[in-house]
């Protein structure tokens, strides 16, 4: 059998990581199965639920629709890298405070998508938040509290010096 294994070096949450993978492995598989970063979730594996959202070179993407081999020299942010030690990111705090999660399975993807939004648009309207997050399905909450949490985190981040 042909050995397709490739060596890939990338930066994940600020740390350089090297891993071996086959081209057919998605970035999602690499994160979860090779690097044990299981905070990023699989919901559909075809780009239609957003549970696997990570930030790749500054842009939120569905990691199921990225090949691991594409991550060579890339910079990747996942949910595991969001908090600063024990200090939660304002989005994380707002999701807890506003009960913006129930089962919590879609939460990492939603938070990463929201982080990308706030990095580009610091004070989005509720309509804008709804549009941005429409790629991220949640089956528990009905979204009302998620939108509120993101809006509140935006305000908080904006007010920070």
């Amino acid at each position: 059998m042909t050995d397709y294994t490739t060596r890939i070096t990338t930066v994940i949450n600020g740390q350089e990581e090297t891993f071996f993978c086959e081209p057919r492995e998605s970035l999602l598989e690499i994160l979860r199965d090779r690097l044990q970063l299981t905070g990023t979730k699989e919901g559909c594996n075809d780009g239609n639920c957003g549970a696997c959202t990570v930030i790749l070179d500054g842009v939120s993407v569905n990691s199921c629709c990225v090949l691991g081999v594409e991550a060579e020299n890339a910079s990747i942010e996942t949910i595991e890298g969001l908090a600063d030690g024990d200090s939660l990111h304002p989005l994380q705090q707002a999701f807890i405070r506003e009960t913006a999660l129930q089962c919590g399975y879609c939460t990492p993807g939603l938070i990463m998508a929201a982080k990308d939004l706030l990095a580009h648009e610091p004070l989005p309207s509720n309509e804008r938040i709804r549009l941005w997050l429409a790629n991220n399905l949640c089956r528990c909450t009905g979204y009302t509290r998620i939108i509120k949490a993101v809006a509140q985190a935006a305000k908080e981040l904006h007010q920070k010096p």
């Binding site: 059998m1 905070g39 999701f95 807890i96 009960t99 129930q102 509720n126 009302t144």
Partner: protein, 759 residues
């Protein structure tokens, strides 16, 4: 002891502390089933039937076995041949264990598109998938049955020559070659129709759909040398999974250990085994841990769904709108095996209205679709849609306000339901009046083609067995363990009830949900029961704990036990006011007085009290495309007592979102051969954040007399009214009456065009 009646000074209950699982879930550290990684783990994949109805003539797995990296291939024949045996499924229903086993992997016949026929285990999923492509199955394709009306015909193709009629709460009896049936009757419906001023009759239809949890099913099994089977899975009931695995594999219950992981949504779809027996068999055969996870297509084709239904409603009413009689026929899909939720639908179909003469005929209909599962208020939405549409039709015919019509007929405490059973304490009229006086009810409508709709629902959740263990530690902390998985925040609502009873802050309590070896039997987290029924176990355990601590306080003070009382978190001596110890102070003394105290409670309440819900919705209709835009949505619910009001409101919002999906966009689409066409979340359309408005919630509290804090079940009822409310709003907006779900833009447009042609 505190009672909800007249009780206003709860210290913990009614507050909104932050969830214990919150930090784990927002940081990605929470462990869901698929997050398990064991050394030397293998990965399994399932081959599924491409035919809706076929005989498996032969399966050749030799090429698959020969593929490098493959460690095993299984077919139905590798599992024990079971006799048809009906076993209790937790208590509320029964299940034929042979049906359950064959639903996991077919033996002789495949009964739906997506029915598992073989499985492969390999070094990774990619190799396992390649192995599946090498399995050759010789099918003899049979004619499928895909519609309820076809399945009930005498000459319909037969799914099972014999079957054990289903029992979900009520028992059915075999009535057709593809159906079991039952009948409920109160008074004399014929009499009502003879005496009525108005008789209305209409047919309604809804389609099969999925519970849609975002987390795919995933299980990991390890089989030890001493035959202990350890299972990590995503489930609403680890004890149910344990029993089903034990029966299917013929393994003793005490050698099956199931650990419930964090669960990424269940909604009624995650209490039954699918991949678990296959992973277990692979683990046994290979001696290595085996994980099987489903793809989204696997889930849509092979798990869930919730049944579609054909419903006929006939109502008898007086001129003033008083309902005299009702006659309903409910035909619900059971799917490939009997036991769908038509019986629970029937029990709740007319409940909430006082109708003296009524009858319901129910059919549990076998057809070539997956075995139907419960979905939040099982069976409730289709018949609620039908009944609430009928009430609207009646109101418009009699030129009555739809809300007044509901008030006229609202069931009150003690009115007899269809079973003849008197209704428990409810606040139905109060709830409807709360709708009437809410600003939403009288606010002006805006938009091009606006409309407003109302629907009303009632649901009885489950009671069943729950267990709790409480330990008071010498450092003053309290450990609570419960046997019901946490779907939505129940670790917190249970800890809050313990804290309230023990008079300590909720932060002193830590909660876990141990595996089946480490906690007493508990029924599943279903039927809106956890906060209510497991809450009763927690309350009982807390009372036991206090009794033992009272004994220890008496010992410490050297006084008579009967003189020691506990109130507001403090042990007091009734006669000597200098003798007081807080709960925490008392806990610090435990080491000296015999060590920590652990108490256990298992309780089995009969029900969890009626949940009443009313929804009010404003829409705008694009008459050129048929699209319905929801502009405002308010959900009202009587929850007995809201332990954690934010969680209660979150449950209500979640139910609305699912009900709206059911009403407007979600449905399984099959071709004529029975292939499921929409097997992705692109074409299986669940609501996105852009499809829903901010959902407002109004919580009412009519205490449940059967719970110390007045709690009623909360989770289920809010899924029921959206379809009826939206259909009624649509009629209000543009004068068309939709009698089938989902009310897609295409269906609405077609009806609008018909109306235009007619006028």
């Amino acid at each position: 002891m505190k009672h909800a009646e007249g009780q206003v000074d709860f210290k913990v209950i009614g507050t909104t502390p932050e969830r214990p699982d919150g930090i784990e879930k927002v940081t990605g550290r929470a462990r869901f089933a698929d997050d398990i990684h064991l050394p030397r783990m293998l990965f399994g994949k399932i081959l599924r039937s491409p035919h809706a109805h076929a005989i498996i003539k032969d399966i050749d797995t030799s090429k698959a076995r020969a593929l490098p990296g493959v460690h095993g291939v299984l077919t139905g024949g590798d599992f024990p041949q079971l006799e048809s045996t009906v076993i209790p499924h937790g208590g509320a229903s029964t299940i034929d264990i042979r049906d359950l086993a064959e639903n996991c992997i077919a033996r002789d016949k495949t009964l739906y598109d997506g029915h598992a026929v073989a499985a492969a285990v390999a070094d990774n999923y990619h190799i396992a998938e390649q192995a599946l492509e090498l399995i050759e199955v010789d099918y003899e394709i049979l004619e499928p049955v895909l519609e309820i009306e076809d399945a009930l015909k005498d000459d319909a193709p037969v799914l099972h020559e014999t079957f054990s009629p289903g029992r979900f709460i009520l028992q059915t009896e075999k009535s057709h070659s593809n159906a079991g049936s039952f009948k409920l009757k109160l008074g004399d419906a014929d009499r009502a129709f003879q005496n009525a001023d108005h008789v209305l009759e209409e047919n309604f239809q809804t389609r099969c759909l999925h519970q849609g949890y975002i987390e795919p099913h995933s299980v990991t099994v390890e089989w030890s040398h001493n035959d202990i089977m350890s299972v990590w899975t995503s489930t609403q009931g680890h004890f149910a999974i344990r029993e089903q695995l034990a029966f299917i594999l013929g393994h003793p219950l005490n050698k099956v250990k199931v650990t419930p992981m964090e669960i990424g949504g269940g909604f009624g779809g995650k209490d039954q085994v699918y991949i678990e027996p296959i992973a277990a068999m692979f683990a046994k055969k290979t001696g290595r841990p085996v994980k099987i996870a489903m793809s989204r297509a696997d889930m849509l084709r092979g798990t869930g769904p919730s049944p579609g239904a054909n419903i006929r409603v006939k109502l008898a009413a007086k001129k003033d709108g008083t309902l005299l009689g009702a006659d309903l026929t409910l035909a619900y899909e059971a799917g490939a095996y009997p036991g769908g939720p038509v019986t629970s639908a029937a029990l709740q179909a007319t409940a909430r209205y006082n109708i003296p003469d009524q009858q319901i005929l129910g059919h549990d209909v076998l057809l070539n679709k997956p075995k139907m599962k419960q979905y939040r208020a099982p069976g409730g939405l289709p018949v609620n849609f039908a009944m609430e549409s009928m009430l609207d039709i009646l109101a418009r015919k009699l030129e009555l306000d739809p809300l007044e019509l509901r008030l006229t007929n609202a069931m009150v405490t003690g009115d007899r339901m269809i079973t003849g059973i008197p209704c428990q304490k409810i606040g139905g009229k109060e709830l409807l009046k709360a709708v009437q006086t809410h600003p939403h009810f009288t606010s002006p409508l805006t938009g091009r083609n606006p409309g407003r709709g109302l629907a009303y629902a009632m649901w009885f959740g489950a009671g069943m067995t729950s267990s709790a263990v409480l330990t008071a530690n010498p450092d003053g902390s309290v450990k609570l363990s419960v046997g019901t998985p946490d779907l939505s925040g129940t670790r917190m609502t249970l800890a809050m009830q313990a804290a309230e009873t023990l008079g300590i802050p909720v932060s002193s309590i830590s909660v876990s949900i141990p595996d089946t070896d480490s906690i007493a039997f508990s029924f599943m987290a279903v039927g809106s029961r956890t906060t209510h029924s497991t809450g009763l176990a927690v309350y009982d355990a807390a009372q036991q704990l206090l009794r033992q601590m009272t004994e220890r306080a008496a010992l410490y003070w050297d006084v008579d036990e009967t003189d020691v009382t506990f109130s507001d978190g403090v042990f007091n001596h009734q006669k000597d006011s200098t003798l007081t110890l807080t709960f925490t102070e008392m806990a610090h003394l435990l080491e000296k007085l015999g060590g920590p105290i652990t108490v256990q409670s298992s309780v089995t309440p009969k029900s969890n009290g009626a949940q009443l819900t009313a929804h009010l919705v404003d829409i705008d209709v694009d008459t050129e495309t048929g699209k319905i835009e929801i502009q405002r949505y308010t959900a009202f619910q009587d929850v007995g007592k809201a332990i954690h009001p934010d969680y209660v409101s979150g449950q209500m919002q979640g139910g609305v979102a699912q009900g709206v999906g059911w009403a407007l966009s979600e449905a399984y689409q099959y071709d004529e051969a029975g292939h499921l066409l929409n097997t992705t979340l692109l074409d299986y359309r669940m609501p996105t954040s852009l499809d829903l408005p901010d959902i407002e919630t109004v919580i009412l509290e009519t205490p449940n007399p059967n719970h110390p804090f007045g709690v009623r079940g909360v989770g289920e009822s809010s899924i029921m009214p959206p379809a009826g409310a939206l259909a009624n709003a649509l009629y209000d907006a543009v004068g068309i009456r939709m009698t089938a779900l989902p009310m897609t833009p295409g269906a609405v447009l077609e009806k609008l065009k018909k109306k235009q042609r007619g006028s």
